[in-house]
Amino acid sequence: MKFNKLLKKLKIYLDSDADQLRKEDEGLAKVLKKLKKKEHALKAKIAAEKDKDDREQLQQELKVVHSQREKGIKLLATLREKKRK
């Protein structure tokens, strides 16, 4: 009886952990999608921008978004690896 109870508790614990991972996965995926869109939009803006200063600023922004996407993709990959295990 006691052992069964322990098993139950373990399952709830593991489930909550899994739920947490699922939520993180979902959040990251959504944000990555938005970042991808943002990256495209920025590229289009840069192509259209004539002012040198403003273009430089947009380019900087693009670099940042790109780095964020890279970081996000790595995080998501690690997360999915964890889930598989």
Binding site: K23, E24, K34, V64, S67, L75
Partner: protein
Amino acid sequence: MLKNNLRKVLLPTILIVLAYGFWISPDFKEIAAGVAIFLFGMLALEEGFKAFTGGVLEKVLKKTTNKLWKSLSFGVVSTTIMQSSSLVSVITISFLGAGLIGLAQGIGIIFGANLGTTTGAWLVAGFGLKVKISAYAMPMLVFGVILIFQQSRHLKGAGYILAGLGFLFLGIHHMKEGFEAFKGAIDLAEYAVAGYPGLFLFTLIGIFATVVMQSSHATLVLIITALAAQQISYENALALAIGANVGTTITAILGAFSSNEVGKRLAGAHLIFNVTTGLIAIVFIHQLLLAVDLVSAYAGIAETDYTLKLAVFHTLFNLIGVVVMIPFTNHLVRFLERVIKSEPDQYAQPKYLNESALEFGDAALEALRQETARVYEKAVGVIAKGVSLDKELIFSDVSMKQVIKVQNKAVAYNIDDAYEREIKSLCSAILDYTNKITSVEPVIGRQISRIRLANQSLLSALKDVKHLQKNMLQYIESDNPEISAEYNHLRQRIAKVMRRLERIRLSEQESETSILSLDALKLTLETNMELLQERLNGLIRDGGISADMAISLMNDSNYTYNIINNLIQINHNYLKSEEGLETEAEHMIALNKDEIDSVLADGQKQTEQR
């Protein structure tokens, strides 16, 4: 509108009336100067006590006044030593004004002071001894001013206290001198009336005489003399003593003018106590007379020794007052807090932090976020004014160069005052609220700590603007075009970030990644810092600015960096996405300092390769 116009008219009117009064009456001039010096003394006293907040004095005061009996004894002992209840009450008001003690403790001290002051009558009557602390006024002023010039905070504080006390006495001295002309008009024999009307009349005379002479002790001496000369009856003499006890509160009331609402509440408590005690004494005058006779007989005081009997009376009726009023101390505190309110517009009050949301983690978090947004908006206004810019113009579509060009004049602005009125109370309410939230969910806990961090960054940003403002006001209009350009550059950088942050904030509602948008700002911040360093080196090398200017600019560019960084951090910590999941994900993805630096280094490498 009408209130504002009235305010505008009020000050010039007061000044004109005073000037006219000074012109027609030298006595009035003396009295008014006395009041002014006295109030200046109060300000100095409060300034002095502020230096000791959080230190030994505060600890000692807290320990010696944390219970009613302790604060009572404190009042009795200090008044006995100083032989002036007025002095003890004004010092207590300045303790309150400086936040060293609370109202209840202050009331305890005032009650005690009323008892302590009766020892004066005993000293005069019994030993003919008269302690005159006012004799020390001049030395106090001299020592005080010398100490004010010292570097140490505590010595400076002690200097302000001594000078404050000196000014208090000097003010009282001038008031007395001014009233000298009216003193002759007090011919007690003229007013002798029997029964209760006489009692009330002599009480009023006692009040008037004490106000005029600025000392209840002096009134007591006058009473004893008049009694000895049989100018007045014994009953009338007692009424005068009651009046003197009420009149002595004038000093505290005067002192409260320069104090905040807590000081005013204490002066109110003093007045209520003394008036109530006076009324009790008048109503039960016959019973009191009997009691005085009994006590006098028991103590072996001669039937005709009115001087000592007066001392007995004085002690007895103040003792009765204390005994009657002690049970009502808490009611008195509540009553005074209700009647004398803090000015509603003086300190900003929280708008969203309601108690009912506390039980629901999400609702409480939203309340905190909205309140933080509100305090952020206020802080942005303070920062804009701190760098002599208009917030509306910063947020407009006008090019930033144009904004700086249009507002190229240094405008003095008191950041400390704005902080006290607009920010401090809100930030402390927010922190207080975060401590009350009961939710144990880890996500909520994380977000609460972010809100705390946002408020912390906000306070740091304001502190840095205060530092930056000092040189900025001096240099933006400097004759040296190089330094003026650099300081305008710093203003422009702050304003630019404020504008970009505002746009990010506004897009928060749309499906944007607002938290991540802040990373681009961090990158710009680092890039600009490097560019500034290069320019600064050039300016120093070419001798465009003096060494002093260079040091100021180095410090102020650091302040600017911190202000911008803190502004970004505030938004980083309180902005949110459409869904909670995304907010957390954005925080995971947001680049840290090293990652920003590596983006910056990559960019530099690419430029070099080109």
